[in-house]
């Protein structure tokens, strides 16, 4: 089926089987292999991307269901070769080791901090509970998010401080 997607600001058209998940469409049709696929049934969170502004699991969305949607993947987080502020914070706080869960962590965190730039540590931990990491013990990831919050602060909240 012909399906139109806006991926990281670019309009793309793909012709896919209805059974193809959005995760596999991104990886295999569009060669955006930054999105990782772990469990393929919505448990691990590794494939989390942002669809129409909200974090979703791309293994639990059919590509055909996303027809017309705006999609942001981890490839859309950096400006060329320069890491974005969230990625820089992950690096600074050792928020990754093997890196498998990292794209999903980053996209979950990006959606959260865009919507709630002043999220508390408890709120950050609650939202991250949907993403499994088997290396870090999460402490570095939580620190990275806490540190990255200032980069997402809205102008008026910055003034208020």
């Amino acid at each position: 089926m012909r399906t139109t997607l806006h991926v990281n600001g670019k309009l793309v058209e793909v012709d896919v089987e209805p059974r193809l998940t959005l995760a596999d469409c991104l990886r295999h049709e569009l060669r955006l292999t930054g999105t990782h696929v772990g469990c393929e049934h919505g448990v691990c969170g590794a494939c989390t991307i942002i669809v129409d502004g909200q974090a979703v699991r791309s293994c639990l969305v059919l590509a055909v269901q996303a027809d017309g949607a705006s999609i942001q993947t981890v490839e859309g987080l950096a400006g060329g070769d320069a890491l974005g502020p969230l990625q820089t914070a992950f690096r600074r706080h050792h928020g990754l080791q093997c890196g498998f869960c990292t794209p999903g962590m980053l996209m979950t965190a990006h959606a959260l901090l865009q919507a709630e730039p002043e999220a508390s540590e408890a709120r950050i931990r609650e939202v991250l509970s949907g993403n499994l990491c088997r290396c870090t013990g999460y402490v570095g990831i939580v620190k990275a998010l806490l540190d990255a919050r200032s980069a997402y602060a809205r102008p008026h909240t910055r003034e208020a401080r």
């Binding site: 596999d24 919505g42 979703v56 293994c59 639990l60």
Partner: protein, 285 residues
Amino acid sequence: MKLPSFDYAAPSTLQEAVSLLGAHAGSALAIAGGQSLLPMLAYRLVAPSLLIDLRRVPGLDAISVTDEGVCLGSKVRWCDVESDARLRTAHPLLAQAVTHVGHSSIRNRGTVGGSLAHADPAAELPGIALTCDAQIAVAGALCPRTIRAEDFFLGPMTTALASDELIVELRFPAWPAARRWAFEELARQRGAFAIAGLALYYDLRDAAAANVHIGVFGAGPRPQRITQAEAALNGRVIDEQAIAAAARTASATVEAIDDVNASAAYRRSLVGTLLERALTRAAQG
């Protein structure tokens, strides 16, 4: 696993969706958020010939709050319930329960209709619907009908919904402002399926409990009411003695299953504990 092969349709009216379901009765399935159905497909526990996507069907995503109660359209997502401030007073039990559904990225797509139709015994919404005497409005090839929650959930992943019927709306009766209520759930980790969960409410008449409703999910093969504990509490002041007696009754009468997460005996004991905590919390107001 990769999903089995199927055809796909995205009709633009409810009537079209229903007639497609009817034409493929038994082999077509409706999909909205897909947060339960896609894992079922990935496990190949279902293999429909046709998926009917409801994303273009209008009019199923409204939350209405009136004197009659709260109505949730079948395409209302968990995140819609969470962000609707009216529900915190119009139905605080529902609002609280929904925060326990999966994780935030699941709640961004999962829907009311999907949860009801999937009928996982450990799911929160079927438990809340049963506890609160909710009604499920469905559309079908014949005439629309309304099914009481107590008649809807038949067993694990099994409902009274016919293969050519679609859920349109979930209707909760009005919620008095002074009502006492509580929600308790135990899961291995946040967002995981409940080993058991419990919802309750009652109204106060001359300091005594009336209209006591206690519902349990996750413990048995389908959500259940704990009617003997309800009867024992009706007309009584909710004090320490009444709470302990009700907890014992709940443990003794709840239908509990053995599975990989917990034994039936553990679940029976847990339901007693959850009822004790819930009644204590509700009594504090």
